[in-house]
Symmetry: C2
Subunit: 263 residues, 2 copies
DNA sequence: CGACTTATTGATGCACTTCAAGCGACGTGG
DNA sequence: CCACGTCGCTTGAAGTGCATCAATAAGTCG
C-alpha cells in the first residue's frame, strides 16, 4: 500500500517511479503519537518537518481569553510545517486530535528530494498552495454560510481529501472530532453544533456515530452546502475532473438561505 | 522612492543592490486601474503575475446566493497570483477597491529573478507564506472575536502592512473601503459595521472620515483586540523586533469579553 | 443642481450563545 | 463485579447580539 504522502501528491500530478521511491525515503522516522498531544507549539522553531501519516491533527491558536480556535485539519498526507524553510518561528500550534502516526523529516532531506525531482518540488509547492486555498474556503465558510451548510461543507471537503489518500469506503470515513472540537473549528458553540448535527441527521444527509461518519447521499449533501471542489485543485483523481453537474435530486434547503433566488 | 515591492520584501530580509535592481526590472509594465474593476476572475488562467503597486485590491468569492465575500486585502507590494506557477486555474477572483496601479509581470521574468538571486526566491516564498499566515489570523478573527475587536484587528494589521510600504504617516492611512465592503470582509452586516465603527470612535480609538483612517492611540487599539504581529513575520523593520510590552494605558474592554479572566 | 451612492439611525425578530441539568459510555479502583 | 468519576452527547430555558427591514441624512459626481 502506498504511503499517504505519495497518494496525496499523485492527486495533483503523476510521479515517476524514482520520485515515488525518493518520497518513501523521507518517511524513515515514523512515530506514533497519542490523541490530544501537541506536536508543535506557537513560537517553536522546529528543526524537522512533520508529516501526518495517519490520524487527524490540527492547526490551532489560543486566544488570550482562553478559547481555542482550530484553523485547519491535518489528515494523512498533510505537512505540518513546510514553512520551516523561510519562517523562523511558528505563528500557531499543531496538535493531534486522534492517535496519529507522524513522520519526522529532516529539512535537508526535503530539500534534496525537491532538488532531485522537479515533480517533487512542484508537488510540495502545490501542497502549500492548496493549504492556502482551503484556508480561503474556510474563511468564506465561517463568514458566509449558515451553521448547517458550514458543517456540511467541512464534511464534503474531508470526504474528498480523505478519498485521495484512501481513507474512505462507501462514503464513510473515520471522523474523530468531538462536537466541542467541531465547534472550535466552525466558530460555533458546542451546543449549537449538537443541534445542527441533529438537523443534518434529520434531513437524512449524514450518519455520525462512534466517531465514524457516513454520508448518506453525497450528491444531496454537496448541493445542500453548494460544495464545489475546484479549490482543492485535484486533477489527477476521479474527482478532479467532474463538476458534479448531474442532477442532485431533491435538495433540502437551509432555513437561512431563503432570500436569494439561486434557482 | 523605492517601489512598494522592494520595500515590502525588505521588511523580511535585506536585499543586495543588484537584487533591488532586478526587482525594479520586473515593474516595467504598469497600468492604472479604476476602482471596482476585476483584475482576475474565478476560473481564469492568467498568463502574467499581477502585482499591486498602489491602491487597495481584494481577493473575493461570490457565493451562489449572490453575497460577496472578501477573503484578503491586497495593498501596495502584494502579489495577486503567485500561484500561477503551480495551479492552473484561479479558485477566487481579484478586484480593485480603490483606483490602483498594477504591474503585469511575465511569469518568466519572475522565474528568472528568483533563479538569479536566492534572496529574491526566498522573499517570494516568504510572500506566499505570509499570505497564508494572514489568512489564518483572519480565520481566528472572524471565528473568535467580537465585531469590535474584529475590525480593530484589521485596522491594526493594515497599519503594520502599510507602514512597511511607506503608506502611513502619523498613525494615519488611506482606507478606501466602504462600510459595506468592511462588512463583506468581516462577515457582518453593513448596519452592524456602522454601529461598531461608531463604538470604536466613541471609545476614542479611531477616527475615520472621507476614506482616511487615523488611529488615535495605537497602543490602546492593539490592546483592545489583543493584536500580536508575530504572524506577519516581519523582522527587518522597526516593528518586527519589538513586542509592545510597554504599558498600553487604560484599555477599554469589549463587552463580549467579560467572562474570561485574563488579568 | 439633481441623481446616486454611502452613512446613519430606529424598530423588530430570531438565531445563536450561555447556563444548567440529565444521560450514556467508558475506565478505574475498591 | 459494581460504585464511582469523567467525558462527551443531548436537551431545555432564557437572554441577547446581530441581521433584517426601512427610512432619512449626508456625501459625491455628473
Amino acid at each position: 500500500m502506498p504511503n499517504a504522502l505519495t497518494q496525496k501528491l499523485e492527486g495533483f500530478e503523476p510521479l515517476t517511479d524514482h520520485a515515488r521511491w525518493t518520497l518513501d525515503g523521507l518517511l524513515l522516522k515514523v512515530r506514533p503519537v497519542g490523541a490530544r498531544r501537541d506536536l508543535i507549539l506557537e513560537g517553536d522553531k522546529p528543526e524537522n518537518v512533520l508529516l501526518v501519516l495517519d490520524g487527524f491533527a490540527c492547526r490551532y491558536k489560543i486566544l488570550p481569553n482562553g478559547q481555542r480556535h482550530i484553523i485547519a485539519l491535518l489528515v494523512p498526507g498533510d505537512f505540518c510545517n513546510l514553512n520551516v524553510f523561510v519562517l523562523d518561528e511558528m505563528d500557531h500550534a499543531i496538535g493531534t486530535l486522534s492517535p496519529c502516526k507522524v513522520a519526522d523529516i529532516p529539512r535537508r532531506a526535503i530539500d534534496e528530494a525537491a532538488k532531485s525531482h522537479s515533480c517533487i518540488a512542484r508537488s510540495f509547492w502545490w501542497c502549500s498552495l492548496v493549504d492556502g486555498a482551503v484556508l480561503r474556503e474556510w474563511l468564506v465558510n465561517i463568514g458566509g454560510r449558515s451553521p448547517g451548510q458550514r458543517i456540511a461543507h467541512l464534511l464534503c471537503e474531508l470526504l474528498m481529501r480523505l478519498e485521495v489518500v484512501g481513507r474512505v469506503t462507501d462514503d464513510s470515513y473515520a471522523f474523530p472530532l468531538t462536537q466541542t472540537e467541531i465547534a472550535e473549528t466552525m466558530g460555533l458553540s458546542d451546543v449549537h453544533v449538537n443541534r445542527t448535527l441533529r438537523e443534518l441527521r434529520a434531513l437524512g444527509l449524514i450518519h455520525l456515530k462512534r466517531r465514524v461518519l457516513t454520508i448518506l447521499n453525497v450528491q444531496r449533501l454537496k448541493a445542500f452546502c453548494n460544495f464545489t471542489p475546484n479549490y482543492l485543485h485535484l486533477r489527477n483523481t476521479r474527482w478532479g475532473e467532474r463538476q458534479d453537474t448531474s442532477g442532485p435530486g431533491p435538495v433540502p434547503r437551509d432555513t437561512r438561505d431563503v432570500r436569494a433566488g439561486q434557482d
